[in-house]
Assembly symmetry: C2
Homo-oligomer: 457 residues x 2
């Protein structure tokens, strides 16, 4: 229903500019990559913007315009919005700031914008936001660099933090399906967007960075329905008293006690993340199927990471699976004598791709195992690279194919980059830190409970 | 006293090889970079190794040999060690595995090695280790890539995990002063190495990855003394019951209850890290002076990160400083009306380098502030890069120069790389995540208590 924001047939950038110092320059430049429809620059003074014929008003555009991005100075926003309405625009992203966040007068003006929009049947994202992205359609309606393509829809109430997170994920090779900077949420809010994202194909999970929710009741109501279909992971700023006070001064609205939010999240099946990385780690897990239980098997080529991961699994309230005697015997039959064949299975440093394949296969086939975590640190034997280990895991998963989730922890910095890429390409989420892979396993188990997967424990 | 390991006058690589598949190939290749003395390859079959004249035995080497790296097959280790003793070698790093970690027979052989070494007045690091590095002397006596130069001495009981962490830090641009893979700790252990590192110039902090300590009493005794001089940060694997069981099967020795370790660390002033990143974040803080108290001021150009950091500060038991009226008034005099001038000080997105400079200066001069955390997310105004913000912070710190620690949180992935580099070059530790900068602030406060800095709270 809000699809015209993310797959519009035509886009107008109102305030598109030839001046590289203006946001309207970046927004139009970014949108030129869009393939799903025409992108029109609107500028009252220019004939051309970045080599493309410009229009004085959105109303002059000959073709269909589903989406308008407004980056004009504040005093022109209202008139621009009316013209959008007259043109028949459906979705408007107002990047321009200076409304609700500035005080009472700004709030009144913001309310007026919403009334105008609704009169014309339009919906607004913003104002005071960075914009929106849909990486699966090459849509970057923001003034920042586009995120890498992924499976997580990320909605951020802070534009700057949201942008910072996009830049962080680019560096770390993590992808988003959508990035939505909601700004002041004058019209569309978390609930509306979650409702839309619940039914999309490419968004496997919804991640929220929340500073304060106005309509808590509706949030809970919608989240309850959405989390039955798709995981929602929330990072809430302002949990502590001092943080909450800071949030209040930032957003202008009281952030509210964390206890209230916590209860609301629990009630509606929203998974709580405590840090940005936890939020991303959890959300990225959902390319995998949901587990039937909370019993985790760990395989590793070094003891230390296995132990650290076991610690984190324990901290999360998950269980280390008790392997069947048969599994243990078969592992013993081909692993070297120094290997540990109890969970965590330590195949030791000599383990090659073939060992990863055979071990992963046995662990996935063990009826006592619900989730598999495959760990690899720097193979210390010359001529070995983690790629063969990744290949072994992928081969085992494909062969066994019994619907158990597999998560990979590849802890060797730049040395494992290629291996991680290969795993991700095959839908297996990869992590670099024990606490992150444990958060991911935890999220899978919790979401299985949400959808009634009958998880024990 | 153990300086011959890290600044040796001459080094013999026994088992140096021309075969790129052998560890002895990598070790000799890496050591050729060493500038502090000659490096000699020893190989029974070759005339030359990697273009350098080779010796049949360490005893044939004409020059001084302080340090020997042994990478020969296990069966030759004992004889090689005797020859090292006869040559007058002082320190021996035994990379070769197959000793104490394999069982009772291996333990017996390992004990014999130690007896031989001590007979000749030699000390051993290892066996079954990755080797050692001293980045300040271009010494890389391992078979892995050398770490970046930094201020943290990192001792790891797991070779593979240690190597993984080195690769991780290379990717993340974090440096080490020394990396010491202690392996089985047949002779030198954590206590010995801490004792040595307590008095070095270039090591500002000591980070330990611990699986199990044999002589707990001596560890506590030494750590008590060392932590009065220099911070020691420990990450202990096997905190949970399942993790501990896994650790026991890995190291062959019982890991012992976490409660016991926790008490020992507390008693001896060792700071406890819960994750690898926490360990690194804490250790990297100590290029900064120790604070006089636990009152933190936060400055930021975006609300969200300020709130998240305030939350983490609170979680750590630190306090948000109550700024003096005078500070608040002066901030108000030049920051825009929408800025928040209470702690956290939100200078909003328009803040430029000059605002960072003036704000940092005022906060450092406020008598109610003990620690300053300066945050920067993506500057969203075209033409701005975080570098000017970093410059502003550096200028303020240099001018005020009143011994208060400053930590930087630059949250914009690759966009802030140059800014971070600049800060680090000026001795200001940089972080990318709120929880990491909070851990660093916490570590500074805790260490101030260790040395009796009279920290309140």
């Amino acid at each position: 229903m809000l699809d015209y924001f993310f797959n519009p047939r035509g886009i107008a950038v109102i305030g598109a500019s030839n001046d590289p110092k203006k946001l309207g320059y970046e927004v139009f430049k970014n949108l030129k990559e869009y393939q799903g429809g025409k992108v029109y620059p609107v500028n009252v003074r220019e004939e051309e913007v970045q080599g493309v014929k410009a229009y004085k008003s959105v109303k002059e555009i000959p073709g269909e315009v589903d989406l308008a991005i407004i980056v004009v100075p504040k005093k022109f926003v209202k008139q621009t919005l009316i013209e959008c309405g007259e043109k028949g625009v459906k979705g408007v992203v107002i990047i321009t700031a200076g409304f609700g966040e500035t005080g009472e007068e700004g709030k009144r003006e913001e309310k007026e914008l919403v009334e105008i929009a609704h009169k014309y049947g339009m919906r607004i994202i913003g104002p005071n936001c960075v914009g929106i992205m849909n990486t699966h359609a090459n849509l970057n309606a923001t003034f920042i660099t586009v995120a890498k393509k992924g499976n997580v829809a990320f909605i951020s109430q802070s534009g700057a933090l949201g942008a910072g997170i996009v830049y962080k994920t680019i560096k770390e090779d993590i992808g988003f399906s959508k990035f939505i900077s909601v700004g002041n949420m004058a019209d569309l809010d978390f609930a509306d967007l979650m409702e839309y994202l619940a039914d999309t194909q490419e968004d496997k999970a919804i991640a929220l960075y929340i500073e304060g929710i106005k309509d808590g009741r509706r949030f809970i109501e919608v989240a309850k329905k959405v989390t039955k279909k798709k995981p929602v992971i929330a990072l809430k700023a302002g949990k502590s008293e001092s943080g909450s006070r800071a949030a209040a001064s930032h957003t202008g609205s009281l952030a509210g006690s964390w206890k209230i939010y916590e209860a609301a999240f629990k009630q509606s099946g929203v998974l709580v993340a405590n840090t940005i990385d936890e939020m991303l780690s959890m959300a990225r897990a959902f390319t995998q199927p949901l587990p039937k239980g909370n019993r985790v098997a760990i395989m590793t080529n070094a003891g230390g990471p296995g132990v650290l991961t076991a610690d984190e699994i324990d901290k999360r309230g998950l269980k280390l699976a008790n392997l069947e005697e048969k599994t243990i015997e078969e592992l013993r039959s081909f692993l070297p004598p120094m290997a540990a064949v109890k969970n965590p299975v330590d195949m030791i440093a000599s383990a090659r791709g073939e060992d990863y394949y055979r071990t992963a296969k046995l662990l996935l086939q063990d009826p006592n195992v619900d989730i598999l975590i495959a760990i690899c640190v720097v193979p210390t034997f010359a001529g070995m690279t983690p790629t063969e280990h990744a290949e072994g895991i992928i081969r085992a998963v494909k062969e066994v194919n019994n619907g158990k989730p597999v998560l990979a922890l590849f802890m060797a910095g730049y040395v494992s980059e290629k291996a991680k890429e290969l795993l991700e390409k095959n839908g297996i989420p990869t992590y670099e830190r024990p606490e992150d892979v444990a958060a991911a396993a935890y999220a899978l188990v919790q979401q299985a409970k949400n959808v009634g997967g009958g998880v024990n424990g």
